[in-house]
Amino acid sequence: MPRSYKELREVIENKDRGLREKVMSLTEAIHLIQDGDHVAAGGCHYSRTPMAAIWELIRQKKKDLVYSRSISSTEGDLLLVAEATKHVITSWFSPGVTWGVSRAMRHYIQEKLAIYEEWSHMSLGLRYRAGAMGIPFIPTRVMLGSDLFPRLPELKEMECPYTGEKLALVPALNPNVAILHTQRCDPYGNVQSEGLPFMDQDIAGASDKVIITTERIISNDQVRRSPDRTSIPFFQVDAVVEVPYGCLPHECYGYYEPDFSHMDYYVKLMMGKGPEGVKEYLDQYVYAPESWTDYLEMLKFGDILRATTDGRSVYND
C-alpha cells in the first residue's frame, strides 16, 4: 500500500535541499542504500541502465531489496543471482527479444526463490508519477479485465464520480532510493539527460533519495545557460558520481550503443548454464575487478570503440 503522506513528506522535509556539492565516489554513493530498501533503477531495458551502481550494490552485498524498473534486462539476472533482491517489480523481464527468455529469471521465479510482481508498462509509469506528484493514486484505463489485476492487491477498481465509468486506480510507488544514469549532471545534482527520457524524471520525484551516475560532470554555469534542458532538479539528488561508460554493456544514448559482443557472451553463459552461469559471470566481472575502470579493462577496446562510434552517430546527421 502507498506510504502515508505524512511519512513521505517528512523524509523530503528532513533532507538538506540546499545548493551544495554532492560529488562522491561510487562506493560512498551506494552506501546510501540500506538493506531492505526499495531501489528503483532508471533507464529501460538495456538503455541508460545504472549498471555501475548495480555492480557496486552487488559488491557491497546489499540484501532484501525490492527492485523496480520499467523493463528489466540482464541487470535483473545479476541482482537475483547475487541475492540482492527477492522481489522485482517490472513489466517485462529478460535480456532482450532476440536473446530469448532469461533462464536465470525463470529459475528464480518458477522455483519461488523470488517474486516477479508484474504491472503493465504504463501502470508502473503512472505509479512512479503519482509518487512524484505527491498523490496516493492516479486513475487509468488499463489492466482492467486482465488476469494481472487479481494478482495485484494494490490495484483497485472504482466507479468514476464524474462519468460513472469503471476505472483502475494505480497506487503511488515511492522507492527509497533511485539509481539513475545520465549523460550530464552538475556537482549539485542538476541532471540534463539527452535522448529518450524513459521514466527517470518521475522516479527521481517519487524517491526518498536519488543517486546519479553520470558520463560527465558539467559546470553549474553550463546548466544555467540552458535551464530548459534540466530534467531533474538538484534538490532531489543526494549523490553525484562521475562514471564514464557507466551503463556498459548496456547503452547510453548519444554516447555508446550496447557492447553487443559482451551481451552475447553473457547471454550465452546465462542461457547455457542458468544461474550457475550468472554466478561465474558475477565472480569474474563483478566481484573480481578492483574498480569499475578495472571492469571496463576486461571488455574489448575494439567493442567499446564500435559501440561508441555507433552511439555518437545519432549526432552525425
Binding site: H45, I109, S120, Y128, L148, E157, L196, F198, D200, G311
Partner: protein, 266 residues
C-alpha cells in the same frame, strides 16, 4: 504443412508472408504503436508501399523515427529505434497518447491467443506454479486496452491458438460478447489476427475469432487443424493476393540478414 512449405520455398517464407499481409492492413496517415521485429518491418514496408504518412510510436518514447534499411533496432527502448524521430518523450507519456485516443493501431504478438483474441505473455501453465514464467506484458496490456484497433501477428499453431489462454496478460474480447466493455475497456478492441495461413477477424456480437481470408495456397482444413478452438468459418471466405515482387524486394532490403523475417517453419 507440406503445401505451405513448398509455397514458401518457392518465393517467400511464412514470416515474410505475415509481414506483407500485415503491412497491407495499415492505412496511410494513421498512427501505429508497435514493437520491434515484425510490427516494425510491416510498418516500414507499408510506408514504402501505400502509406508514406504512417507514423510509428515506440514505447521506449519516440514518435516517428526514421528506420534505416538493414539497421533494424532489436529493441524499442534504445537509440536505434529513436533515430531521427520527431519527438522523444517519457515512456509514460508516449503510452498516455494512446489513452487519449491518438493511436489507431497497436501491433502485438504473444505466446498464446484464444478464440476471443486474448493474449498471454506471462505464464505457460498455472500462474501460481508455472511451467514457464514468460517475460511479461511490457506495454502489451496498455496497447491492447487503449489503441483503437489491435493487430496480432502470430505463427498459426495449435499450441498457440488455444480455447482459453493460460493467463490473460493482454485483453482481447475477454469472455466474448460485451464482456470487454463491461470490464471498463470501452475503447478499442482486437481488429485482425494475421497468421501465415490467413486473416482473421471477430464476429461482431459473439466476438469469436473468424476466418476472413486465406492466404495463397492455404486451406480451410489447414486452419482448423492448426487451431485449438472452433474457428468460425463464414460462407464467403476471402483470398489474399500473393506477395508482389516489389513487396518482397523492399522487405528483403529492410531485413537483409532475415533477423526478423526468418521462416518460423524452416
Amino acid at each position: 504443412m507440406e503445401e505451405v512449405f513448398t509455397m514458401t520455398k518457392n518465393s517467400y517464407n511464412t514470416a515474410e508472408l505475415v509481414a506483407i499481409m500485415s503491412a497491407r492492413l495499415l492505412e496511410d496517415g494513421k498512427i501505429i504503436f508497435g514493437g520491434a521485429g515484425m510490427p516494425l518491418i510491416s510498418c516500414v514496408l507499408a510506408q514504402k508501399m501505400h502509406a508514406p504518412r504512417l507514423t510509428i510510436l515506440f514505447e521506449g518514447g519516440v514518435i516517428g523515427p526514421h528506420i534505416e534499411p538493414g539497421k533494424l533496432p532489436p529493441s524499442t527502448n534504445e537509440q536505434r529505434a529513436a533515430r531521427r524521430g520527431n519527438m522523444h518523450l517519457s515512456i509514460t507519456d508516449v503510452l498516455l497518447l494512446q489513452q487519449r485516443g491518438y493511436v489507431d493501431y497497436g501491433f502485438l504478438g504473444g505466446a498464446q491467443i484464444d478464440q476471443y483474441g486474448n493474449l498471454n505473455s506471462s505464464f505457460i501453465g498455472d500462474a501460481d506454479n508455472p511451467k514457464v514464467r514468460l517475460p511479461g506484458t511490457g506495454g502489451a496490456n496498455d496497447i491492447a486496452s487503449l489503441a483503437s484497433k489491435i493487430l496480432v501477428a502470430m505463427h498459426h499453431e495449435k499450441r498457440r491458438f488455444v480455447e482459453k489462454v493460460d493467463f490473460i496478460t493482454t485483453p482481447g474480447y475477454l469472455q466474448g460478447g460485451d464482456s470487454r466493455e463491461k470490464a471498463g475497456l470501452t475503447a478499442g478492441g482486437i481488429y485482425r489476427v494475421i497468421t501465415h495461413l490467413g486473416l482473421f477477424d471477430f464476429h461482431p456480437t459473439t466476438r469469436r475469432m473468424r476466418l476472413e481470408a486465406l492466404h495463397p495456397g492455404a486451406q480451410v482444413e489447414e486452419v482448423q487443424e492448426n487451431t485449438g478452438f472452433e474457428m468460425l468459418i463464414p460462407d464467403e471466405i476471402g483470398h489474399t493476393d500473393p506477395p508482389t515482387e516489389e513487396e518482397l524486394r523492399i522487405l528483403r532490403e529492410l531485413d537483409p540478414d532475415q533477423r526478423y523475417t526468418r521462416a518460423k517453419d524452416e
